[in-house]
């Protein structure tokens, strides 16, 4: 039986008080709750503070390039549909450098989870604005304030027809764990954006800032309804909803491409006779 302990305890390179610790806990809780052994799980990350997460959990891991977690995750998942694949990285990684992959992954709908540690800042590179940094917020690199409007990943994902869109706050570990479980169980691309206070560089969006604003969506919210989902996705001010904002079923890439039950490509062998007959199409 797997338990939270199965996933080990590791020394991290994170700052004391960082929200990443809670997300790490939530991840262990979620995986344990799903009964997944570490060898069944693949965490793929990019580069950033959040992207170090796969090192702090027993699992298969591919800590790749900044911004490129999603392509790697999809490649691995399509090669081994049996793996539980989670692309876990920062807001800068997934929405900044990796923005184009984010758009494409939503449309492609491969059955993976995309977990975003959203601290609304670039942590590892010491405090520049990220796509989700609020416009006007002053940072080391933006002493006059961030010039661009903040990216709203929830609204964008909902507008693009993403089938599972959720938001959490690292301050509520059980809730994040629950969202992660739902995301993994959802058949298709599932986005989980988790607010994560960066104690070192984001002096605006602090634990208290989130705590004061985040409220949980209750049953009155129907994530199957586009209008309701969009309304909640856009709510970002004194009150910010957390929970499953959008959820509905649609065919996954695996289903569309007939690869749902495909055996891992690692077991693939060429059918020589068949290939020989294909070759004759050139005759």
């Amino acid at each position: 039986m797997v338990s939270v302990e199965t996933y080990g305890e590791f020394e991290t390179a994170w700052c004391p008080g960082c929200g990443n610790f809670s997300i790490n806990k939530a991840m262990k809780q979620a995986l344990a709750g799903l009964g997944l052994a570490p060898s069944q799980v693949l965490l793929v990350s990019g580069i950033g503070q959040a992207a170090k997460a796969p090192h702090y959990l027993k699992c298969n891991a591919f800590n790749g390039l900044h911004g490129r977690a999603l392509p790697v995750a999809q490649g691995a998942k399509l090669s081994n549909p049996g793996l539980t694949v989670i692309a876990e990285s920062g807001d800068g990684c997934h929405y900044g450098e990796g923005g184009n992959h984010f758009l494409a992954a939503i449309r492609r709908n491969v059955n993976i989870t995309c977990l975003v540690h959203d601290n609304q800042i670039y942590g590892l590179t010491k405090g520049q604005a990220s796509p989700t940094t609020l416009q006007g917020q002053k940072t080391k690199a933006q002493p006059m304030g961030a010039t661009s409007e903040a990216f709203n990943p929830m609204a964008t994902a909902v507008a693009m027809g993403c089938g599972f869109v959720a938001r959490g706050f690292s301050g509520d570990i059980d809730h994040v764990a629950d969202l992660l479980q739902q995301a993994v169980q959802y058949e298709g691309f599932a986005l989980v954006d988790v607010f994560q206070p960066c104690v070192s560089f984001n002096k605006v969006n602090t634990f208290k800032w989130y705590k004061d604003r985040c409220y949980k969506l209750d049953e009155s919210h129907d994530p199957a309804d586009f209008g309701q989902a969009m309304a909640k996705a856009l709510e970002f001010g004194d009150k910010i909803p957390i929970g499953v904002i959008r959820r509905y079923d649609k065919p996954t890439f695996e289903q569309t491409a007939g690869r749902e039950d495909a055996k891992p490509l690692a077991y693939y062998t060429v059918d020589r006779d068949r290939l020989a007959s294909e070759m004759l199409s050139f005759a």
Binding site: L42, H101, E278, M279, A283
Partner: protein, 566 residues
């Protein structure tokens, strides 16, 4: 250089169906046991412009294009105007009777009469052409029937009628035909059994034979035909070919797949590859096998998207930041495309490194007649291990640097890769002693690659006064040029690199030092292989023949350049 060959040039606007004529004729010739060599020259547009499809054919092997045209099939006036100067003494123009052929020997065809609708014109042209070279009409009838079969009997019948009418029309003309000499191959009722295949198709086939089963791609001329062929040939085999959002994704997705146990490949061209550079470095750092088909076209930037060049050798050699080993294979023929693609997967897996197949538009699009490959002689390449104990570490420090590679998810073992410097277990580290050990480990794998490489091959004169040194797709023209130059007085041989990296000087220094004059022949402006060989051996080329106008080499181009610089 073939004893006898006929060079047929079909020219016209994009959209006029010249490729259809060319492909039918070429296929018919292959089925009848002839050798062919097709050179496609087309513009970066969908309609209009001026494109050509040149079939050089005959009973003997043909290695390169030639300038001289024996039969000019002109679908528009421009084709006549542009190419009439290439017509040989025995040459003939096949053109609509409305076109101005001046005093050229011509078959002025009443296409309006022969083809009831404009859409049938190319079949009519095919009929006239086939008849002009005395090609058996039954062969073409079979081909058309097979090809149009899925469109229904009526379509087939209409096409056959036009074909016959055109074929017979030519016969009735007062026109002396030099028929092609008979082919040297036994042709049974099913044809010669030989295949008509392009370089890129052969790369796809070689990859499939090696076990390639994953190819994410972003379309880019002249590489796109590789994923398309992989998809067409491999769909029923379970091969995953998926168009993705950009080349960065293609490369990273391929690495994710390779990590998870797929045999992955990407195919692209200059600009697309430039975007993959960071990913190449990731492959180097994580020791993830990846095969990269880099099909060159002239740059810089968008350059000439549909033409040929050999200017990205340096890029392939140094792409990606940091230092790590790689191999670069450079096929010279369609057969080598197959063989080297197969080998590329072997090398990638055995060195856990990026391996390049560096080809170019000329060979990519060039149809040749090849014998079917004996697939059993080319086994599926061994993949990674499926089993390991739970204490497995991915980058174990083993003597030759190549650690046992296990796939995640097929055993209890955990497999960890990191783009940061890492300990043998794959976890991030900033221990600088470990850094040195891991960097040495990775670089050591260069030896594994060097031990098992394709030697440069000598062709033509074995003890020449003059040696033409070339790589990749220039092989054929160089061989023909060597024969031409030998016939002009100086014994000339060829040294062909079908692998340009790593280089093992012992394999070729005696050849370089044995000739009085060593001429490097490269499809670029700066002599990239010559510079590399100087860097590695100190040997300085005596002469260079460079071409960078977007067209492939010919024997005449090389011979003229060599003689002029005498």
């Amino acid at each position: 250089m073939p004893e006898t060959s006929v060079n047929i040039l079909v020219g016209g606007e994009a959209g006029q169906g010249l490729v259809t004529i060319g492909e039918f004729m070429a296929k018919a010739l292959v089925r009848s046991g002839y050798e062919i060599h097709v050179t496609q020259d087309y513009m970066s547009r969908v309609r209009g412009g001026h494109n050509t499809f040149a079939i050089r054919t005959g009973p003997d092997p043909i290695w390169a294009p030639v300038e001289d045209v024996d039969i000019l099939v002109a679908l528009d006036q421009e084709t006549i105007d542009l190419h009439k100067s290439q017509l040989t003494g025995q040459g003939v123009v096949i053109a609509d009777e409305a076109f101005d052929v001046g005093d050229l020997p011509a078959l002025s065809v009443p296409f309006k009469e022969l083809a009831p609708k404009p859409i049938f014109r190319n079949v009519a042209a095919l009929g006239v052409l086939a008849s002009t070279i005395c090609h058996d009409i039954e062969d073409l009838e079979q081909l058309l029937t097979k090809t149009f079969g899925k469109k229904g009997d009526e379509v087939v019948e209409q096409n056959l009628e036009v074909l016959r009418a055109a074929y017979n029309w030519r016969k009735e003309q007062d026109f002396v035909v030099e028929c092609m000499p008979p082919s040297l191959v036994d042709v049974g009722p099913e044809g010669s059994g030989r295949l008509m295949m392009q370089g890129n198709q052969a790369i796809a086939l070689g990859a499939l034979a090696a076990g390639c089963n994953f190819c994410p791609f972003y379309p880019m001329t002249p590489s796109t035909s590789i994923p398309l062929a992989l998809s067409a040939l491999g769909r029923d085999l379970g091969v995953v070919v998926e168009q993705v959002e950009d080349e960065i994704s293609a490369m990273n997705m391929a690495l994710g797949a390779s990590f998870a146990g797929a045999k992955a490949m990407v195919a692209t061209s200059g600009g697309g590859f430039a975007l993959m550079c960071e990913g190449v470095s990731l492959a180097g750092m994580t020791e993830t096998p990846i095969v990269i088909a880099l099909i060159q076209r002239p740059g810089p930037a968008t350059g000439l998207p549909t033409r040929t060049e050999q200017a990205d050798l340096n890029l392939a050699l140094y792409a990606g930041h940091g230092e790590f080993p790689r191999a670069i294979l450079t096929p010279g023929t369609v057969e080598e495309c197959f063989e080297l693609a197969h080998k590329a997967f072997d090398l990638a897996e055995r060195s856990q490194s990026p391996v390049f197949i560096l080809s170019d538009q000329y060979l990519a699009d060039s149809y040749r007649s090849v014998a079917p490959f004996d697939l059993n002689a080319y086994p599926q390449i061994e993949g990674p291990l499926l089993e390991a104990d739970p204490y497995y570490v991915r980058h174990a420090l083993v003597p030759n640097g190549v650690s046992p590679r296990v796939v995640p998810g097929t055993s209890k073992a955990l497999v960890v890769l990191d783009s940061d410097e890492h300990t043998p277990d794959g976890h991030i580290t900033e221990d600088l002693d470990v850094r040195i050990r891991m960097n040495n480990k990775r670089l050591k794998k260069a030896k594994v690659l060097a031990r098992d490489m394709f030697q440069p091959v000598r062709y033509e004169d074995e003890d020449p006064e003059r040696l033409l040194v070339c790589w990749g797709t220039t092989l054929g023209a160089a061989r023909e040029a060597a024969r031409l130059l030998t016939s002009l007085g100086e014994r000339t041989g060829v040294l062909h690199f079908q692998q340009v990296w790593p280089l093992v000087p012992e394999q070729f220094m005696s050849a370089l030092e044995g000739a009085r004059e060593v001429v490097f022949v490269e499809g670029n402006a700066t002599g990239q292989l010559a510079a590399l060989i100087r860097q590695q051996t100190g040997f300085v080329a005596h002469k260079q023949v460079l071409r960078y106008d977007g067209l492939p080499f010919t024997a005449r181009y090389i011979a003229t350049a060599v003689e002029q610089s005498e």
